[in-house]
């Protein structure tokens, strides 16, 4: 067997624990009786609220219009009556204005058999407009508005388009199941993107812990007209990060502060590609997503298809509740996800998983002084010196931290995962970036 590709520097091997749900087919979660839909579910400016309390909304109706260059549309995930428009606490601890909808009326659009749209006649521009209109964002967790990402600057040329099915976060299997169950749809979605971006080559990247997905995707890859190939990758976190992924596949480094397009590449998650397929072919806005509900404290882990705005607690109940009391409940993956403090937090477009972790899985420990062991440096995929950055931020020396590359840090968590002194390094990096930005704004 040929050696699997990977990025050369750093990375960690946390226990995968994907076996809990990797064999379980996606099932539809119950429709929530009350859906709380935040107007800020993406990177960029929040959507502008289009409705008032008391009004009726239909399934898939536009309730938030995108504002500004980087923003995304928000649609109602259920039919019903708007109860109130108020601040909602998100899983990441921030709050956003949101719409609370109580279910009422008919499900007249989704679930019904629909004609497939013939998109092949549409121009790239028209396809982009559909993607923008249906509120598609990056589904891997970063939630960057997709239509913005696909607007390629005039001088640039897309040489490589990468469909990211890596799913390097432990526990998560949403993308894995999607590739197994919606193979052809993903291929059609990739063809749509192919038409928009017109890349020279398409790569489908999958980590080697999903051999069945590699096999089915390899069989289906001929559906793409282009020169396309499935690239199996070594199992290593953060293999799915676009910078590490591009280094592994096309051996180019996205320059510090730059974007993948600077090296002629665009990367999109398989979940995003599937959402594009549904938006363009089925005319469906982004109002549901696949969520892996798992972890040692969940009685019956599942992959669920969930309406946006469903309380996380509903999903846990759907999976049989807790088998033991969890120490943490995480929205997203365990390496980059957010620990939530209440189970009412709603599922948003970026919620790839809900993970209830036991004490044994968390392995938290008291913080001790830095030993200078250098493990954080060894595992940092960006070639940073996390312990030095942390000390500089701790001493409020943000300028030095910026010089040492603080902004290159993408908070993947390798350093803090490995640190034997249990120093909250990622917390320090987030604080440092926030403070440096604040200092810059002050002038």
């Amino acid at each position: 067997m040929r050696r699997l590709k990977t990025f050369p520097k750093g990375g960690v091997h946390p226990p995968g624990n994907k076996h809990l749900t990797s064999g379980k087919a996606i099932i539809n979660a119950a429709i929530p009786s009350i859906s709380r839909i935040p107007l800020q579910q993406h990177i960029g400016s929040p959507a502008e609220c289009l409705i008032n309390p008391g009004e009726n909304v239909k399934e898939g109706m536009l309730i938030g219009r995108s504002t500004g260059f980087i923003s995304a549309q928000i649609h109602s995930s259920i039919p019903g009556v708007v109860k109130e428009v108020r601040d909602i606490y998100l899983a990441n601890g921030f709050k956003s204005k949101g719409v609370v909808i109580e279910m009422e009326g008919e499900f007249d659009t989704l679930g019904k058999r629909q004609e497939k749209n013939n998109w092949e006649k549409l121009s790239a521009e028209e396809l982009l407009n559909i993607i923008a209109d249906r509120g598609i964002v990056g589904m891997g967790g970063a939630t960057f508005p997709t239509h913005v990402k696909y607007k390629i600057p005039k001088h640039a040329k897309v040489e490589a388009f990468v469909v990211n099915g890596t799913e390097c976060e432990p526990y998560l299997t949403a993308d894995h199941r999607l590739m197994l169950e919606k193979t052809e749809e993903i291929m059609e979605g990739a063809r749509i993107v192919d038409k928009i971006l017109n890349p020279e080559k398409i790569y489908i990247a999958i980590e080697a812990n999903k051999l069945d997905a590699i096999e089915v995707m390899q069989k289906a890859v001929s559906l793409l007209n282009k020169h396309a190939e499935v690239v199996p990758l070594e199992i290593k976190y953060p293999q799915g990060d676009e910078k590490q992924l591009l280094k592994a596949i096309i051996n180019r480094e996205v320059p510090s502060g730059g974007l993948p397009i600077d090296i002629g590449a665009v990367v999109s998650n398989v979940g995003t590609i599937f959402a594009i397929y549904e938006a363009v072919v089925m005319g469906k806005p982004l109002i549901e997503r696949i969520v892996t509900v798992t972890g040692g404290a969940i009685k019956n882990p599942q992959n669920l298809k969930v309406r946006i705005g469903t309380p996380i607690g509903d999903l846990i109940e759907e999976c049989g509740g807790f088998s033991e009391m969890p120490v943490k409940v995480v929205a997203g993956g365990p390496m980059m996800g957010f620990a939530i403090y209440e189970l009412e937090a709603p599922v948003t477009k970026g919620t790839s998983g809900v993970i209830a972790l036991t004490k044994k899985e968390v392995k938290s420990n008291n913080q001790t002084p830095c030993l200078n062991c250098g493990r954080c440096i060894t595992v940092c995929p960006m070639g940073l010196n996390p312990t030095l950055l942390f000390k500089e931020i701790d001493h409020m020396d943000y300028d030095s931290a910026m010089e040492e590359g603080l902004m290159d840090c993408k908070e993947c968590g390798c350093c803090a995962f490995m640190c034997p002194a249990h120093i909250p390094l990622v917390h320090g990096m987030k604080l440092g970036k926030y403070m440096a930005k604040k200092k810059k704004e002050k002038g």
Binding site: K247, G313, F322, P326, V327, V329, P334, L343, G383
Partner: protein, 369 residues
Amino acid sequence: MNREVDLLVTTSPQIHHPDSTAKIMWTVVICLVPAGIWGVFLFGGKALLVIISSIVSALVTEFIIAKLLKRFTVLDGSAFLTGLLVGYNMPPGVPLYIPAIASIFAIAVVKWTFGGLGANWMNPALAGRVFVFFSWTGSMTNWRVPRFLTTHVDGVTMASPLGFIKAGLYDFTGTSPGPIAFLKAGGYPLSALDQSVTNWINTSVLNPLGASLKGGYVDLFLGIVPGCIGEVSALLLLLGTVYLFIKKIITWEIPVSYLFVFGLLIWIFGGLRFNNGLFTGDVMFNFFTGGLILGVFYMATDMVTSPLTTKGKLIFGAGAGFMTFLIRVYGSFPEGVSLAIIFMNIFVPLINKYTKPVRFGVSPRGGGK
């Protein structure tokens, strides 16, 4: 389902590698235990008292100082490990107040004056050893005769192999094939075990391959030589090292560069002092004497006082190998390991400054197209 749950909220990552500071320290302690048991077996109960004296003094000092600073750090294993290493670096017959003073100096002066664990710039155990070595040089170079050699030697003390050679070469004008032959010519004893094991290796393994092993190396490898309590058994120290490598508590860079540079220099220049030509040095003899194995794998690799990056660690190890060679061959001390490591400890901040990791997307070789 009850939705009122007490949840822990922390910044990502939400899971952690099983290692912790205490786990690392106690693992190193466990890996050192076999060599200590061997030392006590060889040199008798007095050796055990020396180790206990140094550990207890280290723990008590740590406890008192941490208490004054309203902290509790005794259980993190770091002070225990320092005490253990101080004990291992003592001659078995040393008066008990000497290891105690070495431990107190190590913990109070070297570790805590700079802020405790993680803040010291010099290996505390080595600093403690060097402090008492220069204060009580007589007691610190008074070697007990180990078990197995007692039948060959009169009296309770004898010279260490390196000390014997250093003294013998002082006004040496003849030639000798190497250190082992030099020891033999001077009447230095070998154990009966050495002879039988060497014979067995030669007849069953090496002779069919057309090679042979001279007597003396087995004693050195097993540790049947006078020396510090914990340093003599290369075999048991290496066994512990294997576990440390498996657990990734030590990395290859420092040991490999240290042994490579030291071995290379010994091979090239080590024969000169026996009035032989270049490239005749006895590398194996030098690896298994003078506490080199203990120093290379357990002291030079100390996380706190070694550089951060791979390149930095290679430079550190190479420097320590060079210094050990200089002191051992040209200096007035026979061993040189402790001083070499402490010397390189001084350079760690400088090495760290000039061996920064290569940043992703910034380096000219990978950046851009």
